[in-house]
């Protein structure tokens, strides 16, 4: 695991679930939780209600499910033997990014007292993504581009729902990674870039 992504050391006011709750029932999320995802230490803590914290954990878990699916999609592509170098190398790199997202999200869910969602089976992902229809490298790239654009938009679409502003910022950073992936894939597919600005989440 990349230590810049996940610091196992509790930071600031502590990151155990018990440590988040004070006698007033408020939750202190930001310092440790955000540091896990943001790769930086913070000392400020933002008081939040427990229901707000649970909502944020729920959103993080949905994001984790998205990352599990992305990892599986690139695995299906790599195992198809249809990807040629250097496309294969790029696909492996992007899968590594998604694994880092997964690890950071799972660690944060855990530290916030939630239970990280588990991945489905590869057969489940293959069925859901209609992998049997994939016949070429181009098919894989199109699937990956579709998923990456969807993921970027998904992260952008949840930003207003986070009660913890630092987690909202992290969602923006994740969206940026997915957008970078989509841009590279669109280039490989020789697709036109959006003609207008503000094309994501629109």
């Amino acid at each position: 695991m990349n230590p810049r992504i996940y610091s196992p050391q509790p930071i600031g006011r502590g990151v155990s679930r018990r440590g988040f709750f004070d006698s007033s029932g408020q939750v202190f999320l930001s310092a440790g939780a955000v540091a896990l995802l943001a790769g930086c230490a913070g000392n400020a803590a933002t008081p939040m209600s427990s229901s707000s914290a649970q909502n944020d954990v729920a959103i993080l878990n949905v994001a984790l499910g998205l990352e599990h699916e992305a990892i599986a999609a690139y695995q299906l592509g790599a195992e198809s033997k249809l990807l040629e170098k250097p496309v294969l190398d790029v696909a492996v790199l992007f899968q590594t990014h998604h694994k880092e997202h997964r690890d950071a999200l799972a660690a944060t869910v855990r530290k916030l007292g939630g239970r990280p969602v588990e991945p489905k089976t590869m057969n489940d992902y293959a069925t859901a993504l209609n992998a049997s229809a994939i016949k070429s490298q181009g098919d894989i790239l199109k699937l990956a581009a579709r998923l990456e654009r969807g993921a970027a938009n998904a992260y952008l679409g949840v930003i207003p729902s986070f009660k913890d502003a630092e987690l909202a910022k992290v969602a923006g950073r994740l969206a940026a990674d997915e957008t970078m992936h989509w841009t590279a894939l669109a280039g490989a597919l020789k697709e036109n870039l959006p003609a207008k600005a503000l094309s994501f989440a629109a």
């Binding site: 729920a58 949905v62 209609n130 969807g150 970027a152 998904a154 679409g157 949840v158 729902s161």
Partner: protein, 119 residues
Amino acid sequence: MRLLLILAAFIAAGPTAFAADANRGAELYEARCEGCHSLDANRVGPKHRGVFGRKVGSVPDFGYSNAVRNSPVIWDETTLDRWLTNPQAFIAGARMGFRVSEAVDRADLIAYLRRESGK
């Protein structure tokens, strides 16, 4: 007076009184919903074909939150609009946090989901 009556009728007709565009909704669905959803497969979120008119949390082989599974809400134009505006405000305890902020986008998405549900 006539203008007031027209305005009142518009308001009474609900959130999608303006002409919703299912074709534009299809484009929006591909760009913004397919990160998590498909029409015919459960993925991060449940499959959507047939969503219009069915009870919330009722796709049999999808693992919903308790809050959504136990909700008595039926998906229609109004409930889908409220859900897409802010899911966790509409059903407390819902996992989905994705919001569609523009009313016209919600209307077009709902028109698409309605069409694909055969309604």
